[in-house]
Symmetry: C2
DNA sequence: CACAGATAGTATACACAGAAACTATCTCTG
DNA sequence: CAGAGATAGTTTCTGTGTATACTATCTGTG
């Protein structure tokens, strides 16, 4: 079988599927993850961790639960993500005086260094160019997604 | 603490995060999943299964691997999804004459009935209105996502 | 100030998705 | 036409995220 014939075989009828919002979101996300992991190949940096470090850099001492709600991460999962970052020496946990049920988070020096080291790559993955859209299309897309996300 | 004060507590500084494409995609998807499961509450219908059934309806006898590549589902996972649908009586598997390594898929009568029963709800979840955008914004968003997805 | 209920986070158990290795079949080349 | 390599799908193992239930702490009301 030639490549061309195989291509024909693999072009099934899609009907209205390309207008199903949930499918499009998922497909776009899968492709974006591929880009992310290609850019961070060999570094074991993960998208969610990178985002959390970023948030902690902007909000030193933020409560763990507030970070979780902001990033739509479930509390049970946040516990594990934070534990990983603490094990990696990037984040520190502190139980504040006022409310000893809660936990506040801070970057360590190593965490700040880690963030600085990967900042450009992280931003680069999220650029119109790497995503394959014209700048104005990209701006429109981000504005629309922002309406849905926040 | 009043609701208003709590709201203030929970508005951390976000910096450039709302321009991080990957984060926006994920947040939008999490919110969309919530809508989906709210609409299908009590039915145990899942988004991925619904999409696969739809694809099978349009392409009777499609090869399992072709379906997997079309929907960006990994082969190992597709095996399990198909098995679930077969157990539910919605899909049938057939090993074709020409290539006995492969497997072709078809909807059963029950599968077609299932699809028909949930079709409107499925489309409804994926409408400008339920997503909370104006129709023209929604059309733009879909067109842009389609560029990324296919 | 005691205690009922709310809240913050954690632990346990499970579901969903992927990677790698395996089996069966097919194809192509010598 | 035999055997090496490619291909289709499955199995096994692992990781990521969720639901549920639990512990610790706090708050508000009597």
């Amino acid at each position: 079988m030639t490549a061309h014939q195989r291509h024909l075989d693999e072009a099934p009828e899609l009907g209205e599927l390309p207008s199903i919002f949930g499918l499009l979101l998922r497909l776009a996300q899968v492709r974006h993850y591929d880009r992310f992991f290609a850019a961070f190949e060999g570094t074991d940096v993960r998208p969610g961790e990178m985002t959390l470090l970023w948030l902690l850099d902007l909000n030193p001492g933020i409560r763990q639960g507030v970070a979780a709600r902001t990033l739509l991460i479930k509390p049970a999962h946040m516990t594990k993500v934070v534990q990983r970052l603490i094990d990696a020496g990037l984040v520190s946990r502190l139980v504040p005086q006022g409310d000893r049920r809660s936990v506040t988070l801070n970057l360590t020096d190593a965490g700040r260094a880690h963030l600085a080291r990967h900042r450009e790559t992280f931003l680069g993955v999220s650029s119109a160019d790497s995503i394959g859209l014209a700048q104005d299309e990209y701006d429109t897309l981000l504005a629309l997604l922002r309406k849905l996300a926040f």
